[in-house]
């Protein structure tokens, strides 16, 4: 037990604990619909961008179809709970399953091509699903969308039913999902699996030369991202109570990209920072969507040119350099010893 604590605290997990506590006590201080709504969107963006980060910052692939998983999760929950009386958890679970299946299929197909074409193919799949959503009216109700999605409720027989109706209750629901997801992604990032992902991103042939089946791990990263995208989508359907083909949106994609890149690709901390920045700030500025997206585009380009490692990446670089400076000062004497 003590060793466990040692492990986590040493790895900076304490910051995460504080983060979780912070998230959990927000409703104690406010029941403002506005703030809770903003934080709920923060939660959804976080779920989506952690998955995207696993692709871009993890295995180093540009996947442009996260909104696809979002939409699949949302439609699955919407269709099942609204038309077939599925319970919320059932819809959520099947949303995850379908997103995983879609991710797997898209992944298998898209990974057959070069990484340039991969980006295009994933985008193409998103468009295809959007077109199908518009067209398959009997399943998705077409461009009119699916209204009247019920609020999430969990029933345990002979105990009772919880319905998440008020903003506070909905907020707690997403907070639970966020905490679980962040723990999962944290675990992945700091495990051998995370290291394997980075090895693929850094130098794929080298990784292969040391036994890494890069295709398998790329699919794993993709499916994980897909699952959490699906969870976010499921929640969204119940929160907004309406789903339409507009959900497969390019604008969502830009926001996610900017979160990952500006926050710091490859770092969970960076994604959390990015998600927070790009839910809170645009809300505070109250910009028209076109202007907001225009600014995002410009910002993204500038950051790519000036600081592609993102906010958190910059911070990590600085820390590294400081530690290195300290080490060089200490070792100035014996550096000549074994220089190659």
């Amino acid at each position: 037990m003590k060793r466990l604590k040692e492990l986590f605290v040493a790895r900076g997990f304490i910051l995460y604990i504080l983060f979780f506590i912070g998230l959990s006590i927000v409703p104690v201080f406010t029941s403002s619909r506005y703030i809770l709504n903003m934080l709920i969107y923060f939660g959804m963006y976080l779920l989506l961008s952690m998955g995207l980060n696993l692709m871009i910052g993890g295995v180093g692939l540009l996947a442009l179809c996260t909104p696809l998983f979002f939409g699949v999760g949302a439609y699955t929950s919407a269709i099942l709970t609204t038309f077939h009386n599925f319970p919320f958890l059932g819809g959520l679970l099947l949303g995850m399953v379908f997103s995983a299946v879609v991710a797997y299929v898209v992944g298998i197909l898209a990974l057959r091509v070069s990484y340039h074409a991969f980006a295009i193919i994933t985008l193409a799949f998103m468009i295809i699903f959007q077109l199908v959503a518009y067209d398959w009216v009997s399943l998705t109700k077409g461009p009119m969308g699916i209204p009247g999605i019920p609020r999430p409720s969990i029933s345990i027989p002979s105990i009772g039913t919880w319905t998440f109706d008020t903003p506070t209750e909905l907020y707690y629901l997403i907070t639970v999902l966020v905490i679980i997801s962040v723990v999962v992604f944290y675990r992945i990032q700091n495990s051998r699996l995370g290291r394997t992902f980075i090895s693929i991103r850094e130098d794929e042939p080298l990784a292969e030369a040391y036994g890494v089946d890069s295709k398998k791990y790329k699919i794993i990263a993709f499916v994980i991202g897909g699952i959490f995208g699906g969870i976010a989508g499921s929640y969204y359907a119940h929160y907004v109570k309406f789903v339409s083909p507009e959900i497969f949106s390019m604008y969502l994609l830009t926001t996610l990209l900017i979160i990952v890149i500006v926050g710091g690709a490859g770092y969970l901390e960076g994604v959390i920072i990015g998600a927070f920045l790009f839910t809170v700030i645009p809300e505070a500025l109250r910009l028209a969507p076109e202007i907001r997206d225009l600014i995002y585009a410009l910002l993204l380009i500038v950051i790519l040119i000036k600081a592609p490692e993102g906010v958190y990446g910059r911070y990590k670089e600085k820390m590294r350099r400081l530690v290195l400076q300290k080490k060089t000062k200490e070792k100035k004497g014996d550096l000549h010893e074994v220089s190659a």
Binding site: R187, S199, E202, D203, P205, V338
Partner: protein
């Protein structure tokens, strides 16, 4: 001596260019085999075919009597064949010790389930890997760099790291692609000593591509010469040095 690697009539072409034309060779356990030839003769192409990075267009490759032709690189690596690359390749954004662990990681366990759900088991594997890594780094003289990022190392130090990584999985065959390229003479000497030591003490089998003739003469038991994708000579280094065909290939006389 057992034949570890058998290459039968392997050919590889890129569009119209025949990079390899029915090359035959075998590698015996415990030997240091050199592969030389002028630029463009197909040495690295042969390495790539053997290790799965290229798919041969003809011929078969056997490792320990098992056919491995056309298998993907990671499977061939896991069978015990480790290779290095021409320009030094290490994981630049990882620390030296992480690089070393990464080199052994997949050989210990490839199961994703285990990685995520059995922390204590993995912890044990990590400790084993760190222990082995530190021994090797010490042997190579770069243990003091273990927490530095690979990108912070000098070229020569990175080359040593690369060699260290290749030793981690205790490979049955170690394939080095131009280990002395762009390296200063002191380091070349060091690398030569390392290879000699590993070969004599641990019976480590080496297959080395090289341009540095002195290095080859000093080190190899046997040498194979390629020219324009074909094997033109094979034998002991002293004999190869005098072989007129080899001289012509290199100097076009």
């Amino acid at each position: 001596m057992k034949s570890l690697l058998e290459i039968n009539d392997v050919s590889k072409h890129f569009f119209a260019i025949k990079a390899l034309n029915k090359v035959n060779l075998d590698l015996k356990e415990g030997e240091i085999l050199g592969l030389i030839g002028p630029n463009g003769s197909g040495k690295t192409t042969l390495f790539n075919c053997i290790t799965g990075f290229y798919m041969p267009d003809g011929g078969k490759i056997y490792f320990e009597e098992e056919e491995i032709t056309g298998l993907p690189p990671h499977e061939i690596a896991l069978k015990g064949m480790v290779r290095t690359f021409q320009l030094v390749h290490v994981f630049r954004k990882m620390t030296v010790i992480e690089n070393m662990i990464m080199a052994l990681q997949q050989f210990q366990d490839t199961s994703v389930i285990n990685t995520l759900f059995r922390p204590r088991y993995i912890e044990k594997l990590e400790e084993e890997a760190i222990e082995k890594a530190e021994k090797i780094l010490d042997f190579l003289g770069i243990l003091f760099l273990k927490d530095n990022y690979a990108s912070e190392l000098s070229y020569g130090q990175q080359k040593l790291l690369e060699i260290g990584m290749s030793l981690m999985p205790s490979p049955k065959v170690l394939m080095l692609d131009e280990p002395t390229a762009a390296v200063n003479p002191t380091m070349i000497n060091k690398i030569t000593q390392i290879i000699k030591k590993l070969n004599s003490e641990k019976n480590q089998t080496f297959f080395v591509i090289e341009h540095n003739i002195d290095f080859i003469m000093d080190l190899c038991n046997r040498v194979v010469v390629l020219d324009h994708g074909e094997k033109i000579a094979e034998g002991k280094p002293e004999k190869i040095k005098e072989d007129p065909k080899v001289i012509e290939a290199y100097f076009g006389v």
